[in-house]
Every structure is written in C-alpha cells, then in structure tokens.
C-alpha cells in the first residue's frame, strides 16, 4: 500500500466524547489561581476548572457571575500540564467563542454563573471544543446532549457542601432511565415530545405578544436552525439510545455538593463516572490532604477499609449549608 494522504477531522463527536472518556474515574477540581492548580495536579486531579471565585464565594459575592478573567484562565493553563476547563454563562455564545479561541480544553456551560439567555442554551454542535453541562433529570440531560454536550454532570447545589441535591439528581435520572426501559417506542416518542416543550417557550411568547394562538409552523426554526419536528426526532433518537444502553451515551460526573472523600465514594457507588469538586477542596482546612483523599476515594470507593484509612487526618471539610436556608437555588437555572 502506498502513502496515505492524511486528511484530519477535528471537533467530531468521537473526539469530544472521547476527551470526556479520558477523565473517567477522575476528580476535576475548581481552582482560582496557579498555586491551587498545581496543588490539584500534584494531588492527582485529572483536570482543573479555572474560576474567578469558587461557587461558595460566588454565592457570598452576589451580583452577576460571568466567565473568569482571561488572564486568570491563562495563568492556570500555563501552570499545569493537565487539561483546563472553564465556565461560561448559560447561552453565552460569545464567552464560549472566546474560551475556544483561548484553547480551553472543555467548556462548562454552567448554572453556577448568572445565565445570559432566558430561553436557550448554546448550540454546542457549532463548536470544536467539547462542552459539559449540568442536569437535574433526564429531560435536561437529553436536551443538553441533543444540543451537542459531550459530557454531563449533576447540577447538585453548588457551593453548599451539601450532597443531597446531587443525590436527588442521580436518583431522578436513574429511575427515569429504568422507566424508559419499560416503555414501548411509541411511549418513548411521547416522552420526546414532552422533553421538547422548553424549546417552544420563545415561539409561544412571541405569539402571545401578538395575540395569536400557541402554534408553530412545520418549517419554522424555533431553536438555532432546528424546527420543532427536528428537535423531537433528535431527542427521540437519543432516548432510544439511552433505552438500549441503560445509561446516558456520554460520560456522567457528579457535581454540586461533594465535600468529603465519603461524598465522592457515595457518588461512585451510585454509578457516576467521576466527580467535580468545587468549593470542597479549597474551602477545607487542609486543601492538599483533602484533594489527595478525594482522588483516592474515587479510586477505592468500593473498599470501606481503605476509605476509612483515606478519611483520616484530612482536616475540617468546608462548613456547608442547609438547602432550605438558601436564598438562591442555582440548580433551577437553565432547564
């Protein structure tokens, strides 16, 4: 055989989802400067999330939370050899284009920042860089995957150090998948139609303003360049794949409330592919030890005697908050 003419393809689904597969059984840590990034890398983090503030401080600061300052992200990218992720506001295509140009390895379209679009998430298929998005349930997960997200995570309730919402989101997802597997394909199509409803909100609102009945046209684009039927068909195809696999077709991490090695082990026990730790590390009393312990807990989640050993002498975890006491529920952003 002669020499091959090399034709390269970039930004394919296989490359985007493949990148997510490379971080499986790993811990992705929120960091706000080069020093924290190096601590995370040395502790065995598979990737770091570059932020201006950790979620607990975003809560405290209030105001509008935006994409982190570029020089901050650059500082972190220069400090470590592992992949660097960064967050953009829900629907903020321009922030995402900027991070893609900067060379960030994965973008988190995140409810932790203040949303920029009241109707829609970013059409992520238009990008070469892979995206991760949060979800509270199967509907949100399927919509984000259809929009092109290469990886999923629970929303949990970021910045609280409280695992209950992450557990809720895993349970809702798992049981919904189990239910899907007991449905006929016709019933699954009905679910796809239900899951497509949020995409209709803008079109319906426009009609309401104009005094017209709630109705969309057959060939009318209602999200990006997609018609209502395109969306239903797209969601249906993904739902059938999920029904067949018994799980999401992309890597799925836990996020939003992981504060201890035991929390991380709990999430692995519930079938998650890995964990994001936000405030849990650098809001604990001994970040280096906590970071190492959480990395090892993800690795040894099914060995209680090892977990007991790992959980010793790691200092005080972050203080944590009851969900009922919160003024802002981040998880409710972006359906």
């Amino acid at each position: 055989m002669g020499k091959l003419h090399v034709i390269e393809a970039k930004g394919t689904d296989r490359l985007k989802r493949g990148f997510a597969k490379m971080v499986k059984s790993g811990v992705i840590m929120d960091v706000t400067n080069a020093e924290q990034a190096r601590i995370a890398e040395e502790a065995g983090a598979v990737s770091v999330m570059a932020l201006h503030r950790v979620p607990a401080d975003i809560r405290k600061a209030g105001g509008v939370a935006r994409m982190a300052p570029i020089e901050k992200i650059q500082e972190i990218m220069d400090a470590v050899t592992i992949p660097v992720m960064a967050k953009v506001r829900i629907g903020h295509v321009a922030e995402a284009r900027i991070l893609e140009a900067l060379g960030v390895d994965m973008i988190d379209e995140s409810e932790v920042l203040t949303p920029s679009d009241p109707y829609f998430h970013i059409d992520k298929r238009e990008f070469n860089v892979p995206f991760v998005c949060g979800n509270r349930n199967l509907g949100e997960a399927v919509r984000r995957i259809w929009e092109g997200a290469a990886m999923m995570r629970t929303k949990g309730e970021a910045g609280t150090g409280n695992i209950i919402e992450a557990v809720r989101h895993v349970r809702l997802l798992r049981d919904n998948i189990a239910l899907l597997q007991r449905m006929t394909d016709e019933q699954v199509y009905g679910v796809a139609e239900k899951f497509a409803e949020p995409y209709l909100r803008l079109a319906f609102e426009v009609r309401e303003i104009s005094g017209l009945p709630r109705h969309v046209l057959e060939n009318e684009p209602i999200y990006s360049h997609y018609t209502y039927r395109d969306i239903v068909e797209g969601l249906y195809k993904i739902l059938l794949e999920i029904k067949k696999l018994g799980r999401l077709p992309v890597v799925n991490f836990a996020a939003g409330g992981v504060a201890t090695p035991a929390d991380a082990a709990l999430m692995m026990e519930m079938g998650m592919d890995g964990v994001f730790v936000g405030s849990g590390i650098f809001k604990s009393s001994q970040p280096e030890k906590m970071a190492r312990a959480i990395v090892e807990a993800v690795n040894h989640w099914d060995e209680p005697d090892v977990l007991a050993e790992i959980s010793k002498e790691i200092g005080e975890p972050m203080r944590g908050q009851d969900i009922e006491e919160l003024e802002v529920r981040l998880e409710e952003r972006g359906v």
């Binding site: 034709i7 393809a9 490359l15 493949g18 597969k21 050899t81 592992i82 090892e296």
Partner: protein, 223 residues
C-alpha cells in the same frame, strides 16, 4: 483460558475491556478481561493493557496502589503489555513535559513528548497505516503524546500517520499515540492479543500462566 488485565485506576478502562473481549472472541480464544486495580490481581495474568487517561493521575495511583514495580518486572520478564496515549507515556523510557512527581515503567526505548499535539481543540481523527494490515485504520488522537525518537533499533514502528511513526513495538511491549479502543475496529487489539496468546496452543494455558506468575513471584522476591 487467558486472563487479560486492563489497568483500571483512571481513564477509558471500560472501552478497552470491551475491545479486548471482542478481540478475544474474534480470535476464538477463550479468556476473561478484568478491571485490574491491585497487585494481587496480577496472579495468572496473560497480558496487560494500560488505557488512555491522565498520565499524571495514572502514574500517581499506580505507585500508590503498588502496581508500578510489579508491572515493570512483569514487562521485563516478557509479559505482553500494550499502552495507548497515557498508557504509551507510562511505558516510555524518556518523557518530555512530565511533572516532577511522575513515575514511568520505562519498558519502551522511546522518547515521547507529552501533549505534543497541543490542547483538546487540536485533537484530531485521521486514517493511519498499520504494519500488520493492508487497510487503513481510524486513528483517534486526543491530546496525544508524540513519539519523537526511537532510542535504538530494538524498537520497531508498527503504525504511521503519513510518514510519522505513531505506534511502536519492542519485543513484548506495544505503545500507541492513538486510541483504537474508541473505534469499533478491533484489529489492533487482535494483533496484540493474538501475539500475546500465541504461546497458548503450544504451551497450554497452565504452562503460560505458571511461567508468567513464577517470574512475577521471583522478581518480587528479589526486588
């Protein structure tokens, strides 16, 4: 029965397990493929795969779990080992761009440059040429390391992207920049496991396993 172990500390372990199972089936070899996390699981092992993932994390956990030295000894004793991407980095003798804490197996006499292709936006797919097949193979390169130098002629190229070497073998060890486990094409796994299980019919399973395990215990004893 052969026993193939995929180092299961971090990375795309399940993809390799599935690819190896399919490859064994296609080869008509009876065997199991296991998720390998502890040194005890090395008993009776016929071949090892080191998956893609984050090489800093895999290195740290291989040391922590006591796998690095036993796997190195087994490799030196001739146990077949294949590494893809981060696995290639783990196998290499010299690594450019490693962190100070990183440890390697040093079983492949090559120099690799970690993340040499750039960041994720530079990841790419391209057809590559294999030494053992006439048809092109779908090459998937994700933040891949680059083989920059073969340090001696014991190292044989087995895969090329255009003119560049992207996969090598040195006796019992195979290192690849790309991810065959992310495709449906099992030719690379079949090549690796076909060679690994070659002794199977001649020696008989018991002999092969016994030989490898004896050498493992021997090397541990004198370590």
């Amino acid at each position: 029965m052969v026993k193939v172990g995929v180092i299961g500390l971090q990375g795309d372990v399940s993809e390799h397990i599935e690819a190896a199972r399919k490859a064994l089936e296609n080869l008509g070899v009876a065997g199991e493929v296991v998720w390998l996390r502890k040194p005890e699981q090395l008993e009776g092992i016929s071949a090892i795969i080191i998956p893609g993932g984050e090489s800093t994390t895999i290195s740290r956990l291989m040391v922590k779990n006591g796998l690095l030295e036993p796997v190195r000894k087994l490799g030196e004793e001739g146990l077949p080992i294949m590494g893809t991407c981060a696995g290639l980095i783990m196998l290499s003798k010299e690594v450019i761009g490693a962190t100070p804490e990183q440890r390697f197996l040093g079983l492949l006499d090559v120099r690799v440059n970690r993340n040499a292709y750039g960041r994720q936006v530079d990841s790419f797919e391209a057809p590559i040429r294999l030494a053992f097949s006439d048809e092109p193979f779908p090459g998937v390169f994700i933040r891949a390391p680059r083989i920059v130098e073969l340090l001696n002629d014991k190292v044989k190229p087995i895969a090329w992207l255009g003119d560049r070497v992207v996969g090598v073998e040195q006796d019992n060890v195979i290192g690849l920049e790309f991810h065959p486990e992310l495709t449906d094409d099992t030719r690379v796994h079949e090549y690796f496991l076909g060679r690994s299980c070659n002794g199977e019919s001649a020696l008989g399973a018991g002999n092969l396993r016994g030989r490898i395990f004896r050498s493992f215990r021997f090397s541990l004893h004198f370590h």
